[in-house]
Amino acid sequence: MKCGVVIFPGSNCDFDTHHVLKNVYGRDTVFLWHKDHSLHNCDLVILPGGFSYGDYLRSGAIARFSPLMQELQEFADRGGMVLGICNGFQVLLELGLLPGAMLRNKNLKFLCRHVHLSLENTATPFTNRGEKGRILHIPIAHFDGNYYTDPATLIQLKQNNRIVFRYCDTDGKITDESNVNGSMENIAGLINKDGNVLGMMPHPERASEAILGSEDGRVVFDSVFHYLKTGSLQ
Protein backbone atom coordinates (compact mmCIF):
# COMPACT_ATOMS: atom_id res chain seq x y z
CA MET A 1 0.00 0.00 0.00
CA LYS A 2 1.52 3.31 -1.07
CA CYS A 3 0.52 6.86 -0.22
CA GLY A 4 1.27 10.01 -2.18
CA VAL A 5 1.14 13.63 -1.03
CA VAL A 6 0.88 16.17 -3.83
CA ILE A 7 3.04 19.31 -3.66
CA PHE A 8 1.68 22.36 -5.43
CA PRO A 9 3.62 25.61 -5.30
CA GLY A 10 2.33 27.12 -2.07
CA SER A 11 1.28 23.86 -0.39
CA ASN A 12 2.24 24.08 3.26
CA CYS A 13 0.70 21.06 4.96
CA ASP A 14 2.53 18.67 2.64
CA PHE A 15 5.26 17.84 5.17
CA ASP A 16 2.73 17.51 8.02
CA THR A 17 0.62 15.03 6.08
CA HIS A 18 3.69 13.12 4.94
CA HIS A 19 4.89 13.00 8.58
CA VAL A 20 1.66 11.39 9.79
CA LEU A 21 1.50 8.82 7.00
CA LYS A 22 5.17 7.94 7.14
CA ASN A 23 6.24 8.39 10.77
CA VAL A 24 3.02 7.96 12.73
CA TYR A 25 1.56 5.16 10.58
CA GLY A 26 4.80 3.84 9.12
CA ARG A 27 3.36 3.69 5.59
CA ASP A 28 5.31 3.85 2.37
CA THR A 29 4.77 7.50 1.44
CA VAL A 30 6.07 9.67 -1.40
CA PHE A 31 5.69 13.27 -2.49
CA LEU A 32 4.08 13.83 -5.88
CA TRP A 33 5.22 16.94 -7.81
CA HIS A 34 2.46 18.93 -9.47
CA LYS A 35 4.33 19.18 -12.77
CA ASP A 36 4.75 15.40 -13.06
CA HIS A 37 2.51 13.15 -15.08
CA SER A 38 2.59 10.12 -12.82
CA LEU A 39 1.00 9.16 -9.52
CA HIS A 40 3.76 6.56 -9.06
CA ASN A 41 1.33 3.73 -8.36
CA CYS A 42 -0.02 5.26 -5.20
CA ASP A 43 -3.14 3.70 -3.69
CA LEU A 44 -4.06 6.82 -1.77
CA VAL A 45 -3.44 10.35 -3.04
CA ILE A 46 -3.76 13.29 -0.67
CA LEU A 47 -4.06 16.90 -1.75
CA PRO A 48 -2.73 18.74 1.32
CA GLY A 49 -3.57 22.10 2.81
CA GLY A 50 -1.84 25.35 2.03
CA PHE A 51 -2.13 28.28 -0.30
CA SER A 52 -1.53 26.83 -3.76
CA TYR A 53 -0.45 29.64 -6.08
CA GLY A 54 -1.02 31.97 -3.15
CA ASP A 55 -4.79 31.46 -3.56
CA TYR A 56 -4.49 34.76 -5.40
CA LEU A 57 -7.26 34.08 -7.94
CA ARG A 58 -9.53 31.85 -5.87
CA SER A 59 -8.55 29.12 -3.45
CA GLY A 60 -7.47 26.11 -5.47
CA ALA A 61 -8.35 27.72 -8.80
CA ILE A 62 -4.94 27.58 -10.44
CA ALA A 63 -3.73 24.33 -8.92
CA ARG A 64 -6.50 22.47 -10.75
CA PHE A 65 -4.68 23.19 -14.02
CA SER A 66 -1.48 21.45 -12.85
CA PRO A 67 -0.33 18.67 -15.19
CA LEU A 68 -0.71 16.07 -12.43
CA MET A 69 -4.40 16.87 -12.04
CA GLN A 70 -5.19 15.07 -15.33
CA GLU A 71 -3.79 11.87 -13.88
CA LEU A 72 -5.62 12.52 -10.65
CA GLN A 73 -8.90 12.90 -12.49
CA GLU A 74 -8.38 9.57 -14.26
CA PHE A 75 -7.25 7.91 -11.02
CA ALA A 76 -10.41 9.11 -9.30
CA ASP A 77 -12.57 7.99 -12.22
CA ARG A 78 -11.07 4.51 -11.87
CA GLY A 79 -12.05 4.47 -8.20
CA GLY A 80 -8.68 5.50 -6.69
CA MET A 81 -8.75 6.89 -3.18
CA VAL A 82 -8.38 10.67 -3.08
CA LEU A 83 -8.44 12.82 0.05
CA GLY A 84 -8.43 16.61 -0.17
CA ILE A 85 -7.71 18.50 3.05
CA CYS A 86 -8.46 22.21 3.33
CA ASN A 87 -6.81 23.75 0.24
CA GLY A 88 -6.88 20.23 -1.19
CA PHE A 89 -10.67 20.20 -0.75
CA GLN A 90 -10.83 23.56 -2.54
CA VAL A 91 -8.81 22.11 -5.43
CA LEU A 92 -11.21 19.14 -5.64
CA LEU A 93 -14.13 21.58 -5.87
CA GLU A 94 -12.45 23.59 -8.60
CA LEU A 95 -11.64 20.34 -10.42
CA GLY A 96 -15.28 19.33 -10.23
CA LEU A 97 -14.50 16.06 -8.46
CA LEU A 98 -16.78 17.33 -5.72
CA PRO A 99 -19.71 19.75 -6.17
CA GLY A 100 -19.96 23.30 -4.90
CA ALA A 101 -17.60 26.14 -4.08
CA MET A 102 -16.07 27.94 -1.13
CA LEU A 103 -16.86 31.50 -0.09
CA ARG A 104 -15.03 33.66 2.45
CA ASN A 105 -15.71 32.74 6.09
CA LYS A 106 -18.78 34.55 7.37
CA ASN A 107 -16.73 36.70 9.78
CA LEU A 108 -14.33 37.62 6.95
CA LYS A 109 -11.36 36.55 9.01
CA PHE A 110 -8.93 33.68 8.77
CA LEU A 111 -9.98 31.17 11.39
CA CYS A 112 -7.61 28.79 13.16
CA ARG A 113 -9.08 26.80 16.03
CA HIS A 114 -10.28 23.40 17.14
CA VAL A 115 -13.87 22.68 16.14
CA HIS A 116 -16.34 19.93 16.93
CA LEU A 117 -17.42 17.78 14.02
CA SER A 118 -20.30 15.41 13.90
CA LEU A 119 -19.49 12.23 12.01
CA GLU A 120 -22.56 11.88 9.79
CA ASN A 121 -21.76 8.93 7.58
CA THR A 122 -19.61 5.98 8.59
CA ALA A 123 -20.33 3.88 5.51
CA THR A 124 -17.44 5.37 3.55
CA PRO A 125 -13.86 4.23 2.94
CA PHE A 126 -12.66 7.26 4.93
CA THR A 127 -14.85 6.92 8.02
CA ASN A 128 -15.66 3.23 8.49
CA ARG A 129 -13.65 2.99 11.73
CA GLY A 130 -15.76 5.66 13.40
CA GLU A 131 -19.15 5.43 15.06
CA LYS A 132 -22.05 7.38 13.62
CA GLY A 133 -22.75 10.50 15.61
CA ARG A 134 -19.30 10.51 17.17
CA ILE A 135 -18.04 14.01 17.93
CA LEU A 136 -14.56 14.69 16.65
CA HIS A 137 -12.27 17.43 17.91
CA ILE A 138 -10.11 18.55 14.99
CA PRO A 139 -8.59 21.92 14.05
CA ILE A 140 -9.50 24.08 11.10
CA ALA A 141 -7.31 26.80 9.57
CA HIS A 142 -8.76 28.59 6.58
CA PHE A 143 -10.08 31.82 5.12
CA ASP A 144 -12.39 30.31 2.50
CA GLY A 145 -14.30 27.48 4.12
CA ASN A 146 -17.83 28.75 3.79
CA TYR A 147 -19.36 25.97 1.67
CA TYR A 148 -21.89 26.90 -0.99
CA THR A 149 -23.79 24.94 -3.59
CA ASP A 150 -27.05 25.32 -5.51
CA PRO A 151 -30.24 24.05 -3.82
CA ALA A 152 -30.72 21.09 -6.18
CA THR A 153 -27.23 19.79 -5.51
CA LEU A 154 -27.71 20.27 -1.81
CA ILE A 155 -30.83 18.09 -1.87
CA GLN A 156 -28.91 15.40 -3.73
CA LEU A 157 -26.03 15.54 -1.27
CA LYS A 158 -28.44 15.05 1.58
CA GLN A 159 -30.45 12.32 -0.09
CA ASN A 160 -27.36 10.34 -1.00
CA ASN A 161 -25.81 10.73 2.43
CA ARG A 162 -22.77 12.45 1.01
CA ILE A 163 -22.31 14.96 3.81
CA VAL A 164 -19.68 13.23 5.92
CA PHE A 165 -18.75 15.86 8.52
CA ARG A 166 -20.76 18.77 9.91
CA TYR A 167 -19.73 21.48 12.35
CA CYS A 168 -21.52 20.95 15.65
CA ASP A 169 -21.40 22.02 19.28
CA THR A 170 -19.82 20.08 22.15
CA ASP A 171 -22.97 17.94 22.46
CA GLY A 172 -23.11 17.12 18.77
CA LYS A 173 -25.97 19.48 18.02
CA ILE A 174 -25.87 21.13 14.60
CA THR A 175 -26.40 24.79 15.48
CA ASP A 176 -25.86 28.18 13.88
CA GLU A 177 -23.38 29.15 16.59
CA SER A 178 -21.25 26.09 15.91
CA ASN A 179 -21.26 26.81 12.18
CA VAL A 180 -17.90 28.54 12.42
CA ASN A 181 -17.53 29.69 8.84
CA GLY A 182 -21.15 29.94 7.68
CA SER A 183 -21.22 26.81 5.51
CA MET A 184 -24.52 25.62 4.08
CA GLU A 185 -25.94 22.94 6.36
CA ASN A 186 -22.78 23.23 8.52
CA ILE A 187 -20.95 21.18 5.90
CA ALA A 188 -17.31 20.47 6.83
CA GLY A 189 -16.67 17.45 4.62
CA LEU A 190 -18.19 15.81 1.54
CA ILE A 191 -17.75 12.60 -0.38
CA ASN A 192 -18.37 11.92 -4.08
CA LYS A 193 -21.07 9.59 -5.38
CA ASP A 194 -18.76 6.59 -5.66
CA GLY A 195 -17.30 7.13 -2.22
CA ASN A 196 -13.66 7.32 -3.25
CA VAL A 197 -13.09 11.09 -3.13
CA LEU A 198 -13.38 12.90 0.21
CA GLY A 199 -12.90 16.62 0.76
CA MET A 200 -12.76 18.12 4.22
CA MET A 201 -11.85 21.55 5.60
CA PRO A 202 -10.62 20.33 9.04
CA HIS A 203 -7.07 19.02 9.26
CA PRO A 204 -6.94 15.37 10.42
CA GLU A 205 -3.13 15.43 10.15
CA ARG A 206 -3.08 18.03 12.93
CA ALA A 207 -5.03 15.73 15.22
CA SER A 208 -3.20 12.44 14.90
CA GLU A 209 -0.72 12.56 17.78
CA ALA A 210 -1.45 12.81 21.50
CA ILE A 211 1.20 15.47 22.05
CA LEU A 212 -0.76 17.83 19.79
CA GLY A 213 -3.85 17.54 21.98
CA SER A 214 -6.15 15.33 19.89
CA GLU A 215 -5.99 12.05 18.02
CA ASP A 216 -9.47 12.25 16.54
CA GLY A 217 -8.11 12.83 13.05
CA ARG A 218 -6.83 9.28 13.02
CA VAL A 219 -10.33 8.03 12.30
CA VAL A 220 -9.86 9.15 8.70
CA PHE A 221 -6.47 7.52 8.22
CA ASP A 222 -7.40 4.35 10.16
CA SER A 223 -10.51 3.98 8.00
CA VAL A 224 -8.89 4.44 4.63
CA PHE A 225 -6.04 2.06 5.50
CA HIS A 226 -8.57 -0.50 6.70
CA TYR A 227 -10.56 -0.14 3.51
CA LEU A 228 -7.50 -0.37 1.27
CA LYS A 229 -6.38 -3.48 3.11
CA THR A 230 -9.67 -5.34 3.32
CA GLY A 231 -11.82 -3.73 0.64
CA SER A 232 -14.55 -3.68 3.24
CA LEU A 233 -16.46 -0.96 5.05
CA GLN A 234 -17.07 -3.26 7.99
Binding site: L57, F65, L93, L103, Y148
Partner: protein
Protein backbone atom coordinates in the same frame (compact mmCIF):
# COMPACT_ATOMS: atom_id res chain seq x y z
CA UNK B 1 -5.65 45.52 -27.41
CA UNK B 2 -6.94 45.98 -23.87
CA UNK B 3 -9.73 43.92 -22.36
CA UNK B 4 -11.44 44.35 -19.04
CA UNK B 5 -13.18 41.41 -17.35
CA UNK B 6 -15.42 42.04 -14.35
CA UNK B 7 -16.14 39.11 -12.06
CA UNK B 8 -18.75 39.31 -9.33
CA UNK B 9 -20.82 36.97 -7.21
CA UNK B 10 -24.08 35.78 -8.72
CA UNK B 11 -27.17 37.53 -7.35
CA UNK B 12 -28.17 34.36 -5.49
CA UNK B 13 -24.87 34.07 -3.64
CA UNK B 14 -24.31 35.88 -0.36
CA UNK B 15 -21.54 38.45 -0.73
CA UNK B 16 -20.23 39.04 2.80
CA UNK B 17 -17.45 41.38 1.66
CA UNK B 18 -19.89 43.58 -0.23
CA UNK B 19 -22.27 43.62 2.70
CA UNK B 20 -19.51 44.61 5.08
CA UNK B 21 -18.46 47.49 2.84
CA UNK B 22 -22.06 48.61 2.56
CA UNK B 23 -22.54 48.46 6.32
CA UNK B 24 -19.50 50.57 6.94
CA UNK B 25 -20.70 53.13 4.39
CA UNK B 26 -24.05 53.21 6.16
CA UNK B 27 -22.40 53.87 9.50
CA UNK B 28 -20.46 56.69 7.86
CA UNK B 29 -23.80 58.27 6.99
CA UNK B 30 -24.12 57.25 3.33
CA UNK B 31 -27.57 55.86 3.92
CA UNK B 32 -28.71 56.05 0.32
CA UNK B 33 -26.80 52.88 -0.63
CA UNK B 34 -29.35 50.14 -1.15
CA UNK B 35 -27.08 47.37 -2.21
CA UNK B 36 -23.39 46.86 -2.88
CA UNK B 37 -21.69 43.92 -4.57
CA UNK B 38 -17.95 43.46 -4.51
CA UNK B 39 -16.08 41.89 -7.40
CA UNK B 40 -12.76 41.57 -9.14
CA UNK B 41 -11.38 43.38 -12.17
CA UNK B 42 -8.94 41.77 -14.58
CA UNK B 43 -7.23 43.97 -17.16
CA UNK B 44 -5.70 42.02 -20.01
CA UNK B 45 -3.31 43.41 -22.58
CA UNK B 46 -3.60 41.06 -25.55
CA UNK B 47 -2.41 40.67 -29.14
CA UNK B 48 -4.58 42.38 -31.76
CA UNK B 49 -6.75 39.45 -32.73
CA UNK B 50 -9.74 39.40 -35.09
CA UNK B 51 -12.90 40.39 -33.30
CA UNK B 52 -14.61 37.01 -33.64
CA UNK B 53 -11.63 35.29 -32.03
CA UNK B 54 -11.73 37.74 -29.14
CA UNK B 55 -15.45 37.13 -28.80
CA UNK B 56 -14.79 33.43 -28.47
CA UNK B 57 -11.60 33.37 -26.37
CA UNK B 58 -12.35 35.96 -23.73
CA UNK B 59 -15.56 34.31 -22.49
CA UNK B 60 -13.70 31.01 -22.61
CA UNK B 61 -10.93 32.07 -20.24
CA UNK B 62 -13.30 34.09 -18.10
CA UNK B 63 -15.62 31.13 -17.66
CA UNK B 64 -12.89 28.56 -17.27
CA UNK B 65 -10.32 30.32 -15.14
CA UNK B 66 -11.10 33.86 -14.01
CA UNK B 67 -14.56 33.12 -12.63
CA UNK B 68 -15.99 30.09 -10.89
CA UNK B 69 -19.38 29.62 -12.59
CA UNK B 70 -20.83 27.96 -9.49
CA UNK B 71 -20.73 31.20 -7.54
CA UNK B 72 -19.57 33.91 -9.92
CA UNK B 73 -20.66 35.67 -13.10
CA UNK B 74 -18.60 37.80 -15.45
CA UNK B 75 -18.88 40.62 -17.96
CA UNK B 76 -16.20 41.82 -20.32
CA UNK B 77 -15.44 44.76 -22.56
CA UNK B 78 -12.82 46.06 -24.94
CA UNK B 79 -11.05 49.23 -23.87
CA UNK B 80 -9.58 51.91 -26.13
CA UNK B 81 -6.02 53.23 -25.94
CA UNK B 82 -6.82 55.59 -23.07
CA UNK B 83 -8.20 52.71 -21.08
CA UNK B 84 -11.76 53.87 -21.59
CA UNK B 85 -14.59 51.65 -22.68
CA UNK B 86 -14.81 51.43 -26.44
CA UNK B 87 -18.36 52.04 -27.66
Amino acid sequence: MKIRVLVSYKESVLDPQGQTVRNSLLTLGYEFIRNLRQGKVFELDIDDLPREQVNRLIPEIAGKVLANPIIEQFEWEILDEKGETRP
